[in-house]
């Protein structure tokens, strides 16, 4: 048990009302100093809202927060002074500033007229980075770092602000297994020194690994506080979701893996892009889910984007349905029957100013419009409604603006968008990232159903979540530093074997 039992943070009857929804309802609980406290719940349960109120980004409708007995008021800047530090889901950084600048933003080492001492700053930033145990180029704009590295910079920043309480919203969603281990060690060390951590995560195994106690929210209400050691993943999921729903997932595809025929749909030959991936060759068979596993930086994203035509490559060729592919572009790929689900749904996927329905049909408007481009509104709406129903997308209607949906439902909307293109070959980049337990299961079902229900279908998936890789794929290609390290099939597809090949 970490820390003494002194209560450092108390939430009292916290309520947040939005027009049409209650995000939080009379939530009351307390957190002790030095604890690692998990905040659990489905998407939309209110976890992010609670953290946003704590950090001051959003104001509560009613209720109070006490830190060390004092009532909390004021702006995010005041919160930082009180010792509360937030690390948002990969955001909260000034993208055009360097790592060093971001870590010390607001705490620059400068003289009295404001001239920054670059040398001392870099030194301090480097020291902080080393204490966390990672190695990132702090001199380039954070924009140029990978998502994982950006997350680490954000965390280093929080730690550098001498925070008493650090709140982490999905800190591991872009981290590879190695990084997660490092992060947890740091969290452990810091919590022993008396720093309190609150974190939100969908990765149940991680919550069990790191937290002392946890709170479960469901539909804005507190379901209960438990000691982590008293819970099991199953009992926790039950609390988060309600026991009846769990049964659904002993559904027909859950234990089946996709089997594949001998028909080759795509053959990639000696694909090379200098600096990213080298001499990549593989085949994709009808009916399979082929998964690319690997550490961050192994070249998977650039590879899959090159196959789609969203990125270039230097050498090699791709044969799809027997024909050599020419004129690589996303548009041509879709025309030929290949569709792509981007890794970063917020920045590369959803169209924020458009509705749920429009986000579904946007990739295939040709299907429901005349030659001259006039959209048939009736057909448009039917398709939108059909997908919302078939994929169980939780929304108030086809016209709801997509930002109002939870991450998981946004992801389902994007998957519906792909299926609507009538493409038979899907490229999915981290399809379960930032998505809650239930939706993750649903997406896996949808994926398996997709490849099995019609001929000439296959999915290539990039995933960093080993349980997902193991449960959905029929074959696994492990990439390491830009080359294929191994191809695993059958019983070889299990976490330890995959990890061995990844490093």
């Amino acid at each position: 048990m970490n820390g003494n039992d002194k209560v450092i943070l108390e939430f009292k009857e916290l309520t947040k009302q939005y027009p049409g929804t209650t995000a939080l309802q009379n939530v009351s609980f307390s957190i002790n100093r030095g604890e690692v406290f998990g905040l659990m719940g489905e998407n939309g349960a209110g976890k992010s809202t609670l953290l946003n109120i704590l950090s001051g980004a959003v104001s509560e409708t009613s209720g109070e927060i006490f830190i060390e007995g004092q009532k909390l008021t004021g702006t995010p800047f005041n919160r930082r002074k009180e010792g509360i530090s937030m690390v948002y889901q990969g955001l909260g950084l000034a993208l055009h500033l360097t790592g060093e600048e971001n870590i010390l933003l607001g705490n620059e080492i400068s003289n009295y007229i404001g001239v920054i001492n670059r040398k001392k700053q870099l030194e301090k930033a480097r020291k902080l980075m080393q204490s966390v145990g990672v190695d990132i180029d702090l001199k380039v704009p954070v924009l140029n770092l990978s998502a994982d590295e950006r997350q680490l910079v954000a965390i280093i920043r929080a730690i550098s602000l001498n925070a008493k309480i650090i709140a982490l919203d999905e800190p591991t969603s872009s981290l590879s297994k190695g990084e997660v281990g490092k992060l947890f060690k740091i969290i452990n060390d810091l919590s022993k020194k008396g720093i309190t951590f609150i974190f939100v995560s969908h990765h149940l195994e991680e919550v069990f690994q790191i937290s002392n106690r946890l709170a479960v929210l469901k539909d804005g209400q507190l379901q209960g506080i438990r000691k982590t050691e008293e819970m099991t993943p199953h009992s926790l999921t039950e609390m988060m979701v309600g026991s009846k729903i769990i049964e659904k997932y002993d559904a027909k595809f859950a234990n089946e893996k996709s089997t594949h025929s001998n028909k080759v749909l795509m053959e990639v030959k000696n694909l090379t892009k200098k600096g990213e991936f080298y001499d990549i060759s593989f085949k994709v068979y009808e009916g399979e889910i082929l998964c690319f596993a690997g550490l961050m930086g192994s070249g998977r994203t650039t590879l899959i984007k090159a196959i789609f035509g969203a990125d270039t490559f230097d050498e090699g060729e791709i044969i799809f349905n027997g024909k050599k592919v020419k004129n690589f572009s996303p548009r041509n790929a879709i025309k030929q029957g290949i569709a792509y689900l981007p890794e970063d749904r917020l920045n590369e996927g959803i169209l924020k100013t458009m509705s749920v329905g429009e986000n579904i049909t946007i990739e295939n408007l040709e299907k429901i419009s005349t030659r001259s481009g006039v959209i048939k509104r009736g057909d448009n709406k039917s398709i939108q409604e059909a997908f919302i129903k078939e994929f169980s997308i939780k929304t108030t209607g086809t016209n709801q603006p997509i930002p109002a949906l939870s991450g998981g439902n946004q992801q389902k909307t994007l998957f519906a968008r792909l299926v609507n293109t009538d493409c038979d070959f899907l490229l999915l980049n981290e399809p379960s990232r930032g998505v809650d337990v239930l939706v993750k299961e649903e997406m896996h079902e949808l994926m398996k159903k997709f490849v099995m229900e019609k001929p000439n279908r296959a999915i290539i998936m990039v995933s960093s979540e080993l349980p997902e890789v193991v449960s959905t794929s029929s074959r696994v290609v492990v990439m390491r530093k830009g080359v294929i390290a191994a191809t695993l099939t059958g019983d070889d597809i299990e976490e330890s074997k995959i990890i061995k090949k990844m490093i």
Binding site: P19, G20, F308, A310, P330, R331, A333, I334, K335, Y340, P342, N347, E348, G349, I350, L351, K352, T353, M354, E358, I362, E363, L365, E366, S369, S372, G373, V374, I375, R377, S382, E385, A386, I388, K389, T396, G397, T398, N399, Q400, R417, T421
Partner: protein, 321 residues
């Protein structure tokens, strides 16, 4: 899918106050009309109403093109200059003896080409639209001035060239008829076609649009060309009304157009656009100036007031739900 699936779009109940705020431009329009009608008996006369609509036609046509541009998260600062250049070319063709229909086609082509030129700078050279259209603005204005050494084209103009700007069908001036036709077409394109949807998509997120298979560059090129085309239409009407080709017309017209678009509800950040809204915005701007002129307010004060109206409209957006 044979069964009809019912998905309810839930609406929250809004108070009258909220409804008024959400439709700020329309409310402003109604209030202005009522206010000016009370202030001066010369306002709501048949003559003045026709006057208002004729004045609004120039601003609105440019603003419609601008709506497409701003919806795509771009800007077109060149429209005023293209208007002037188009007017000069139109009248120069007249003096050269070119028949009016051919002259119209050539002038429109020039307008479209100039817009496409900005589009090319934006898509191929990756210049921000602000810079590209700023450049075109100065270049086009320069060419217009160069054509007659800074003076107007006022002699030797065929009378057929004046028909567009100065004739009527019954009581309705031709410019108003052109306005209505363009309004109907562009509103339809924006709301009912794939072009309109793609316009909003690339303004919302160009990268996501690209990955969804939309030809972002092709769309941008077309949108900028359309803006140039609209400016050319406005230039032809202006020159035809005035009876001369003047290289100094259209100054600041881009600002009027942008004001109309913003007042109408299209956001500078892109992804949202409404032609109907722009029409209302253009009417608000025109009626404001018309009413104030009738009241004898100097045009300098009018300009100041217009600025405040724009600030007010944007401030009000914060309360819209």
């Amino acid at each position: 899918m044979t069964e009809k699936i019912k998905i309810q779009n839930t609406k929250s109940k809004k108070s009258i106050g909220q409804i008024i705020i959400n439709n700020a431009a329309l409310t402003a329009l109604v209030l202005l009309v009522i206010m000016f009608t009370f202030i001066s008996k010369r306002f709501f006369t048949a003559n003045n109403v026709i006057n208002i609509f004729t004045q609004v036609s120039i601003t609105a046509i440019i603003a419609f093109g601008m709506t497409f541009v701003i919806t795509a998260a771009q800007i077109d600062l060149s429209v005023g200059s293209v208007l002037a250049l188009a007017g000069m070319i139109f009248m120069a063709l007249s003096v050269a003896g070119v028949p009016v229909f051919l002259a119209i086609i050539i002038t429109l082509a020039v307008g479209g080409f100039l817009g496409a030129f900005s589009g090319y700078l934006i898509t191929y050279f990756k210049l921000p639209s602000f810079i590209a259209t700023l450049a075109l603005m100065t270049i086009a204005r320069g060419i217009a001035l160069l054509m007659r050494g800074g003076t107007t084209i006022c002699q030797g103009i065929q009378t057929s060239f004046l028909w567009l700007g100065q004739s009527k069908v019954g009581v309705i001036p031709i410019p108003v008829i052109i306005l209505i036709i363009i309004f109907v077409i562009m509103d339809f394109v924006m709301t009912r076609t794939t072009f309109g949807t793609y316009n909003r998509a690339i303004g919302s997120n160009p990268e996501a649009s690209r990955l969804a298979g939309i030809s972002v560059n092709s769309m941008l090129l077309k949108i900028m060309a359309i803006s140039g085309l609209c400016a050319a239409v406005a230039g032809i009407i202006t020159a035809s009304r005035l009876g001369v080709g003047s290289p100094i017309t259209g100054m600041m017209k881009e600002l009027d157009a942008i004001t109309a678009v913003i007042l109408g509800g299209t956001a500078m950040t892109g992804g949202v656009g409404t032609i109907k809204g722009t029409f209302i915005g253009a009417l608000v701007v025109t009626i404001l100036t018309n009413g104030l002129t009738i009241m004898g307010v100097s045009s300098y004060w009018q300009q100041i007031l217009l600025g405040f109206v724009l600030i007010g409209a944007l401030a009000l957006k914060k309360f819209q739900k």
